[in-house]
């Protein structure tokens, strides 16, 4: 309970702007590097799944279960392998969660190329690799970005829980504020996490505009 403590101490915020900035930058690294790693894994895996459909169902089932695992529990279970209070404790599970979101969207995207388009590319003399780079990957960009938006936002949100086992990031503000019965850092943390998520989302939307201008009207 708070006794005479105001909800927000503006002076504290003013005095700690640099600190809050550092934590936000740290949080962005912890949350978004796993999303990038997952993207690097999802594209080749998605290609393999699009080529060998039998591979997809079991993989999808595995990731469906992974996605349902409570993050705090996973962070804790991984401590023996990654060590307590290291960034890897948080980043390894976040990569798995992001991959669970991205793999289905990558497969959908690669399958979305209409057969006539594929045949047209082949008829124009494109080999399989050139067709992949020039036709299939670009066509799947809107799908991938749709998945990336979901993955990035939930990763940013989940990374906050990592403060209970890991190190760094905005989640520390919650732990710190709670231990000191001091709501200002908690509120700052909530707002900054939400703003970071919003920024990542808008950035991805902008990226889609640049990389896939034809998808502007598509609601996704």
């Amino acid at each position: 309970m708070l006794d005479g403590e105001p909800l927000i101490r503006w002076r504290w915020l003013g005095d700690h702007l640099g600190y809050l900035g550092d934590l936000t930058a740290d949080h962005a690294v912890i949350a978004l590097v796993p999303v990038l790693l997952a993207l690097l894994l999802a594209v080749p895996l998605g290609l393999a799944c699009a080529r060998f459909p039998r591979l997809y169902q079991p993989l999808a089932a595995v990731f469906n279960v992974v996605y349902a695992l409570p993050s705090l529990a996973v962070f804790v279970v991984l401590i023996p392998y990654t060590g307590l209070a290291t960034r890897e404790t948080v980043m390894v599970p976040l990569t798995c969660y992001a991959l669970a979101v991205l793999l289905p969207t990558a497969v959908d995207g690669l399958r979305a190329v209409p057969e006539p388009v594929r045949q047209a590319a082949t008829a124009m003399g494109y080999g399989p690799w050139r067709r992949l780079a020039a036709v299939e990957l670009p066509a799947s960009v809107p799908y991938l970005i749709g998945g990336l938006r979901v993955a990035a936002v939930s990763s940013i949100s989940l990374a906050a829980v990592g403060a209970l086992v890991g190190r760094g990031g905005l989640g520390y503000l919650f732990v710190d504020g709670f231990q000191r019965t001091f709501p200002t850092p908690i509120l700052a943390g909530i707002v900054l996490v939400a703003l970071l998520a919003l920024a990542a989302d808008l950035l991805l939307l902008a990226a889609r505009r640049v990389l896939a201008p034809w998808s502007r009207g598509v609601a996704r």
Partner: protein, 260 residues
């Protein structure tokens, strides 16, 4: 560094066999608390979602709300609620309810929205009133989507109730948080494993529900397709908004999670 040994220590500990710190007691606490939050959320979100989906008004608002909710860090909300209202069940119940409501709302709205318009018109045409159409036609057709939303909410709440132990709540989170605080890894890992098992069990339970609750017309997308190909109109079929949960590998990315 020995995982299996830790688990053995955890499950063999007499303190975890009986009394207030026993596994059974903690699991029941965890379930009771999660069910309370889910019940509250369902009470608010499901009727509202059904109405929004049926009338088609406010759909945009629902989607926007779900996006915002996904970005809110529950740990922050829980700690703040406890600072403001003191340690107590209500203080933690509110953030959990707020966490569970958006996926249910979205699922109910989108499920009803996804009912085949022809089927809705037919129901109106044979003289059903609006409430009857909603309850007897749209709700059964939306059942798989609806259940998928409740499943997402349930798994999230069960996972987050673990975090709530950080602010003094009982349940399985006690093992995880207390173990971390005292560097007692057997307890932490044992508790974490129990939470994972509980979440997976709830997932499986809902997969079963979805199978049982799907109306015959909404179940296999293939059957609906072949019925259409055969030229038979409708076949009582309402496709589940194109998102039969069984075919949807990552849950519905639209509903998705924030599961601490």
């Amino acid at each position: 560094m020995n995982w299996l040994g830790w688990l053995h220590d955890f499950f063999a500990d007499p303190a975890h066999r009986s009394g207030p710190d026993s596994i059974v007691h903690r699991v029941l606490e965890h379930l009771a608390f999660s069910a309370e939050a889910l019940g509250l959320a369902a009470l608010v979100a499901l009727p509202l979602g059904l109405l929004i989906g049926y009338s088609g008004r406010g759909l945009f608002l629902v989607t926007a709300l779900a996006g915002v909710a996904r970005a809110l860090p529950t740990l922050g909300l829980v700690t703040l609620a406890v600072l403001l209202a003191g340690v107590g069940e209500t203080a933690v119940l509110l953030p959990l309810t707020a966490l569970a409501a958006p996926p249910m709302l979205v699922a109910a709205a989108e499920g009803v929205r996804g009912t085949d318009p022809d089927v809705r018109d037919a129901a109106r045409g044979i003289g059903l009133t609006h409430p009857q159409t909603l309850l007897r036609v749209c709700v059964p057709a939306a059942a798989p989507t609806l259940l998928a939303g409740v499943r997402t909410a349930s798994v999230q709440v069960i996972a987050t109730a673990t975090v709530a132990a950080y602010v003094g709540l009982g349940g399985l989170g006690r093992y995880v948080i207390d173990g971390l605080a005292t560097r007692n890894y057997p307890t932490t890992v044992g508790g974490a494993l129990l939470v994972v098992l509980l979440a997976v069990a709830v997932q499986l339970l809902f997969a079963l529900f979805v199978r049982l609750a799907s109306p015959p017309g909404a179940r296999p997308v293939r059957a609906v397709r072949s019925a259409r190909a055969a030229g038979s109109a409708g076949g009582g079929g309402a496709s589940a908004g194109g998102s039969a949960p069984d075919d949807d590998p990552a849950g519905s990315p639209a509903l998705v999670k924030e599961s601490p």
